[in-house]
């Protein structure tokens, strides 16, 4: 208890995924994690790594330098942002000449990277700072009636050399957090695979085929909902679910929840409070199961 973090929103969350931010802020407040807004931050750098690695390093280092000025560690909702800030922190701390080169750029804007803050994704904060015991004791309406599937995605886990969190080949943390709500977390084929989001814009067809493949496996497993912890993954499965259904003549109807929405329900918050209305795939059937099961 008593953790305090700078919240790094990144770009995709404020752009398209309000429900994630709304629900995350609510559960974190209730669990005693204090969030401080991060002024003047910029894109973490990851989206531009493909075109200019140097740009990615500068953008990430600028964010880290801003956090260092505040003397606070960073919490992100997006695993891509967390992974990038972690990786760049590690690279620049280890490589003096590269650090000097990047600081040369930051100095132009009156900033300096020192390597004094750490970054955690919300899942890591929940596991390490809040702790399972506190989460379990905050659960007042256990979701024992639900069988869901998880989608951890890539950047919370890979590349393992830089991230060093959970087991990329057999991740357990999100599963554990889901089970803390009382819900059952089902296994399915290719659980750790990519959602396809980074290939959108280059080849939508390939990207959507990746998401379709995962939705097929989630459906086969019999999951009533899919739980994500990433803005991009959520867009792939929720925003694009109908598009995938139409494109490939499939029928899923699988609601896609941000993990904080699932936890929030178990903590006794209402679907309205948790911004369920922002979700694209209809959740009324799922919420009815929860309501009936809670009686």
């Amino acid at each position: 208890m008593g953790s305090k973090y700078l919240i790094f929103l990144g770009c995709a969350v404020p752009y398209r995924v309000a429900a994630y931010e709304i629900s995350a802020r609510k559960i974190l407040r209730k669990l005693g994690v204090e969030l401080v807004e991060m002024p003047e931050f910029n894109c973490c750098g990851l989206p531009l790594d493909p075109v200019s690695h140097e740009t990615m390093l500068i953008l990430a280092a600028r964010n880290l330098a801003l956090a260092e000025q505040q003397g606070l560690n960073i919490l992100t909702l997006c695993p891509g942002c967390a992974g990038t800030l972690k990786k760049v922190n590690k690279i620049l701390k280890a490589d003096k000449s590269l650090r000097e080169q990047i600081n040369g750029h930051l100095n132009e804007a009156g900033l300096e990277f020192k390597g004094t803050v750490n970054t955690k994704h919300i899942v890591q904060v929940l596991m390490e700072d809040v702790g399972l015991a506190s989460i379990k004791s905050a659960v007042v309406k256990p979701l024992t009636m639900l069988q869901v599937a998880e989608h951890v995605g890539c950047h919370l886990l890979r590349p393992k050399e830089y991230i060093g969190f959970d087991d990329p080949e057999d991740p357990q943390f999100l599963k554990t957090l889901i089970e803390a709500t009382g819900a059952t977390c089902l296994d399915y084929i290719d659980e750790t695979e990519c959602c396809g989001a980074p290939s959108v814009g280059v080849s939508d067809k390939v990207a959507l085929q990746l998401a379709r493949d995962k939705l097929n496996h989630v459906k086969e497993a019999g999951a009533q909902a899919l739980i994500t912890i990433c803005a991009f993954c959520h867009i792939m499965f929720d925003t694009n679910e109908v598009r995938i259904e139409r494109m490939f003549n499939e029928a899923y109807g699988i609601p896609v929840l941000h993990y904080p929405q699932l936890l929030g329900l178990a903590m006794g918050m209402t679907p309205e409070e948790l911004a369920f209305n922002e979700l694209r795939v209809d959740t009324s059937k799922l919420l009815k199961i929860v309501a009936d099961g809670a009686k």
């Binding site: 929103l9 770009c11 995709a12 404020p14 752009y15 398209r16 309000a18 931010e21 709304i22 802020r25 807004e37 991060m38 002024p39 003047e40 931050f41 910029n42 894109c43 989206p47 531009l48 790594d49 493909p50 075109v51 200019s52 690695h53 140097e54 740009t55 500068i58 953008l59 600028r62 590269l98 750029h105 930051l106 132009e108 804007a109 009156g110 900033l111 890539c154 950047h155 890979r158 590349p159 393992k160 050399e161 990329p168 290719d190 695979e193 990519c194 396809g196 989001a197 980074p198 290939s199 959108v200 814009g201 280059v202 080849s203 390939v206 990207a207 085929q209 990746l210 493949d213 911004a275």
Partner: protein
């Protein structure tokens, strides 16, 4: 974007091979271990994109780089299909950091002006607002009614100053096109 190039059946001419390319790459951050690849194919068989693409094969890209097919690999559309999931990097038995090699190749292609529009849009947006996407005014305004704090304003001047001297951005600012093409 169509998928061509790496799957190109055009015969390779000896004059296309640049024997220095692999050594240049070996000195660049991310592709230092290119020469350790012995073409086992773990990257391609574990690649989620390769499963659904007719032409994207990480092993092929690595081999083209080793052989010195500079132009062919840098102009290849399929280079841009990598989803950066890092599965290949984690599973490579030779620690080649396959995804990073592909990133280095993309960076080189971008310097030459071969870059999909989506990246140009994002780069332009970062220069303008600090964010990679143009966040609609409606979204920004809606935050209050959703009980969210105001969206922190980016400092584009500070971002621009930090990016001064970066080739990709200089080209983008000058001609509106990276690589100036």
């Amino acid at each position: 974007m169509t998928e061509t190039a790496t799957a190109s059946k055009e015969p390779i001419k000896a004059s296309e091979l640049d024997p220095k390319f692999k050594y240049e790459l070996s000195k660049m951050h991310g592709s230092e271990k290119l020469l350790k690849c012995f073409q086992c194919g773990t990257c391609t068989s574990d690649c989620p994109v390769a499963r659904f693409s007719d032409s994207y094969r990480p092993r092929t890209i690595i081999r083209m780089a080793q052989l010195g097919l500079r132009e062919r690999v840098l102009k290849s559309d399929t280079l841009w299909l990598c989803a950066a999931c890092f599965t290949c990097t984690d599973r490579c038995p030779q620690d080649v950091e396959v995804a990073s090699v592909i990133r280095v190749l993309r960076n080189l292609a971008a310097e030459k002006g071969c870059v999909p529009q989506v990246f140009k849009d994002q780069a332009g947006s970062v220069l303008e607002s600090g964010y990679a996407y143009k966040i609609p005014e409606l979204r920004v305004k809606k935050r209050e009614s959703q009980g969210l704090p105001p969206l922190p304003k980016g400092n584009s001047e500070s971002v621009r100053k930090s990016l001064k001297g970066v080739k990709f951005f200089e080209a983008l600012e000058k001609k509106g096109e990276p690589g100036g093409q």
